[in-house]
Symmetry: none
Subunit: 198 residues, 4 copies
DNA sequence: GATGAATGAGTCTTCATTCAT
DNA sequence: AATGAATGAAGACTCATTCAT
């Protein structure tokens, strides 16, 4: 009995989050009304509040789900037994981001901009993001250290700063793609290679 | 009469934009109410509507003013007779962004995130940003070509892609600073240097 | 089957009324939601509606049960073969009210205030109360007549008005106890005695 | 300029309170909706919120205004140079309550029941009432002491308990009037006289 | 010309009750 | 017979904007 209920609950929540993403994509987080999410989800107002305590909960759940989903998608890239070089890693990461973000009805990259904005004024969101991105940057730092061990990068370079640079490139890829629309993974990789990032 | 009025008008508008920035910084664009801007500006509701047609106009004017102000601030860096290398240029640009963004009562970097988010759903804003950033990227491309002429970068590299990479780094600097809070111009420059970006 | 069902039904209804009293005590009648009563009773929403047709029925049943219960409790006081004087009767009645009203989790005196308020806008409740209190006042009037026969009170006094006064004292005992919290049966009896009510 | 505004504000607030009383009379405090008060006041929803921060503020203001108004009305009775006896005082006080409570469109006695009920779950209201009624009871106690000085009441009687009894009679007058509808000041006075309260 | 009072369309959320399983 | 999921209508309150003075 609880099994059915738990599965049902998870399904409904996923259904609602999908509706929320479609709305957030078009309207942004704040300008999206509960009525819009409700209509997009196909549920009634009261059914919706059975699965999420309020708008804020939906926002946090939507952001959390996308951060978690993306992290799961990027993880295997770091686990690849054949370690990529700098430009190749950036290309694979941005490629995975792009692939993960493209959904029918919305793009999570655009929603990411909305989420970053919202996180500036929403404490729960800010903390959530900080933890996720900090963990991801630690992952990047480990990889830089490995590159240094392999001799690809000068051993004396500050690994944390290289990770900062790479994370900036990834963030910037999302922003540039959303605003100018022409930042491809391949282009960034070529640019990085030209600068010497082998 | 029109002259005094024009100066007076510009002053009032600047006063309103400053109030708007303070509000946008704390609440984001959508969640800021006209009442808040009115209270922060010290004007009356009707006075406000004398200087801006509505909330949308204030938003566009606020973003436009900050984009223009930043461009003016970054321009001299490109005009420097002693041309900087890649890492040095990034350090000077991010440093200038940081200096420009720091204001009493708000930081324009945080507001930039709000503006990017808002631009995803506001056609006027989207167009405005696209033009500004495209122009800025052309400026970066010119600089890359010059580096190629100077032999700092391989002549065969696609200049546009290098510019894309550099613009990503700048965007990412803003995002990383706003969310993780520890992306300094010097750190990014060190990271870039470590990758070979001389 | 019907017998068991009837006993079961009565038990369930009592369980629900107890839950309702606990809720009414904390929140008042109108501000109590069915969901709260349901949660407090430990039943399911649909089970609840099997035993009571709706919120209004619960309200009427709860008030009716407490009026009936109180009447049963007060009845023996009137039947006492050793007839008390005025002050003693008031002390015994208020004492019985106090004892009857004190329950684990709620006090019926507080709920009485909610019930009187609700009766001002609920026709069924108003009628119910009117009948109960009118009957009780008739009982008081009889007692006054007996006192007059015994010579405790002037024979020419209007018995109904004395009953009105005594009922006021009882109502006021409940109100003063609920609001100021320090109206004890003994205090009222002393006060009455001081005024000459032997 | 502030004068007009202040007068205007006070007028609007009085207008709103009158509307609130009419609604509370018919529906009780909790069951009255803001929409009803708004409709009864003739203002718009947003205009209403200019003068009261919310429903709770209206409730507190309405109760406070009636308590204060009643106190002002009862005060002169205590100041009368020809001091009344017990029954006469009760008759004059209940008479004044009745006269004060009768308004076109509503009766404040009925609203008092609603207010007492609401005070059981509203901390602000509870405190407000406690202070008002405690002060009033102190006034009654003073009067009892004077009666004792005059020899109308036994000097050894506990004045505070007599005041408790009298306050109960007044509270009970309101309850009995609202529920049974036939508790007149004269009837209570006669009842009290019959008991010896000269 | 300048103000603050006013507004109607919305915003999030909750409620008593019912229905499919 | 019993449940928990579902609902439509309403609840309190807010917003960008305008208008009478």
């Amino acid at each position: 009995m609880p099994k059915i209920s738990a599965a049902h609950r998870a399904m409904r929540q996923a259904q609602i989050l999908d509706a929320a993403w479609r709305c957030f994509y078009r309207e942004g987080v704040q300008a999206t009304t509960m009525e819009q999410i409700i209509a997009a989800s196909g549920l009634s107002a009261s059914a919706m509040y059975r699965y999420f305590a309020g708008k804020d909960d939906i926002i946090v759940a939507a952001v959390s789900a996308s951060l978690t989903g993306l992290a799961q998608r990027l993880e295997p890239i770091f686990d690849d037994p054949v370690p990529a070089g700098v430009a190749a890693l950036v290309q694979r990461l941005t490629g995975a981001i792009e692939a993960f973000a493209a959904r029918p009805g919305y793009k999570l990259t655009t929603i990411a901009l909305h989420g970053w904005s919202e996180a500036q004024r929403n404490e729960r969101l800010r903390r959530l993001m900080r933890e996720h991105y900090a963990a991801f940057r630690r992952r990047l730092t480990q990889r830089v250290r490995r590159w240094q061990a392999e001799g690809r990068i000068a051993a004396g370079a500050p690994a944390g700063d290289v990770a900062r640079l790479l994370l900036s490139v990834l963030f910037g890829f999302v922003v540039q793609g959303a605003i100018l629309g022409d930042a491809s993974p391949a282009a960034l990789a070529r640019g990085l290679e030209a600068l010497g990032g082998r």
